[in-house]
């Protein structure tokens, strides 16, 4: 009985620590809603901490080209993301035309992109810190930064 209780506490503790670690960097939230009658409705919530971890398992050569293209912009990205984290919440970019409405917004510690056009409704929310880690992981694919 005591053994079972100890085991239960161990499992619960591991689950709690694991959950806390997974949610430590927030969640990537993707929502796609195709407006046509039989369109896809997809909602995806992924712990943001998984993004850089997953990227580290992708073979380096697969990321080589993306890495080469990204590397020159890394100093600017390294400066921009922490600066953006310090900014108050606000709409950074808004594009409106008769068939489309796009907003890029800083909300909390996330960057939120909303697209509403004639065919789709798309919502993507990415925690800034996770995006930064993921971009650094991609840049590292072709050598140390």
């Amino acid at each position: 009985m005591v053994f079972l209780a100890k085991l239960g506490i161990g499992v619960l503790g591991t689950a709690l620590v694991g959950g806390a670690a997974l949610s430590s960097e927030g969640f990537i939230h993707v929502k796609i809603h195709e407006k046509q009658a039989d369109g896809t409705h997809l909602t995806l919530v992924v712990p943001a901490v998984l993004a850089p971890v997953t990227l580290s398992f992708i073979p380096r050569q697969q990321l080589a080209e993306a890495s080469r293209e990204l590397r020159p912009y890394m100093p600017a990205i390294d400066a921009a993301i922490p600066a953006l984290e310090d900014c108050p919440d606000q709409v950074l970019v808004e594009v409106t035309d008769p068939g489309e409405h796009v907003t890029i917004e800083k909300s909390g510690s996330s960057l939120v992109v909303d697209v509403n056009d004639r065919e789709d409704l798309v919502h993507v929310s990415v925690p800034l810190r996770a995006a930064h880690s993921a971009l650094r992981e991609i840049a590292r694919a072709s050598g140390p930064i």
């Binding site: 020159p72 400066a79 921009a80 409106t96």
Partner: protein, 217 residues
């Protein structure tokens, strides 16, 4: 307990001797003077911190709208963000916060030299060009460099207003064909709300301005 009370009584008795009284008064005065100074210093520090904290963030706004197609683009960029990102960019002609503008000295016209000359010149109109196709006017008004261009063919009116401090910052610490973007953005932080560029035409209207509002609504 009785022992403590007894000790206190003894202490009170000893401090009541006439010689000790002036010392006590002096020490009280010192005690009173110190908190006042400290409080004053604290008040100044707090006021300064509040003034710094209360200083609103400044934003660079860009609004492009096309009345014919009902297209509208709005960009709201915190100046602090630009201030931190621009020095980090070392790509193409933008390096270390400075942009290389090769054609600044084209046709033997040195923009930097002109800006230096304008700095000391009195306010007024400097250049007026009237041609069949367009009118150009360059002036110094209320401490700002003002450029008006009217393109008669496209019916476009372009107004550019550069606060003098920003114009100076643009040419500060640069070589002949460079503009110091980083310094200009820092200077923009301190200028009053103003429209920097406005373009009105048949096709599109563009406005670039700075203020303390996070959106342009």
């Amino acid at each position: 307990m009785e022992l403590w009370v007894g000790r206190l009584r003894t202490y009170a008795r000893t401090t009541r001797v006439p010689l000790a009284e002036p010392c006590l008064i002096r020490s009280e005065r010192t005690f009173m003077r110190l908190p006042k100074k400290a409080l004053l210093l604290l008040a100044v520090l707090l006021a300064t911190s509040f003034a710094i904290a209360a200083r609103p963030a400044r934003y660079l706004h860009v609004k492009v709208n096309n009345p014919a197609t009902h297209e509208l683009v709005r960009i709201n960029l915190p100046l602090t963000l630009a201030e931190q990102v621009i020095p980090a960019i070392n790509q193409g002609k933008l390096r270390a916060g400075k942009v290389q503008v090769g054609h600044l000295t084209a046709d033997n016209v040195n923009i930097k030299a002109i800006l230096h000359a304008l700095e000391t010149a009195p306010e007024g109109e400097f250049v007026t060009v009237e041609e069949p196709g367009n009118n150009v006017r360059v002036a110094k008004e209320r401490g700002q460099l003002v450029v008006h261009v009217i393109d008669k063919n496209s019916h476009e009116h372009v107004n550019v207003t550069i606060p003098w401090d920003v114009a100076q910052a643009l040419i500060s610490d640069t070589s002949e064909d460079q503009l110091n973007v980083e310094a200009a953005i820092k200077a923009l932080e301190n200028v009053a709300d103003t429209t920097l560029v406005s373009v009105t035409g048949d096709a599109e209207n563009v406005r670039i301005w700075i203020d303390s509002h996070s959106s342009d609504e």
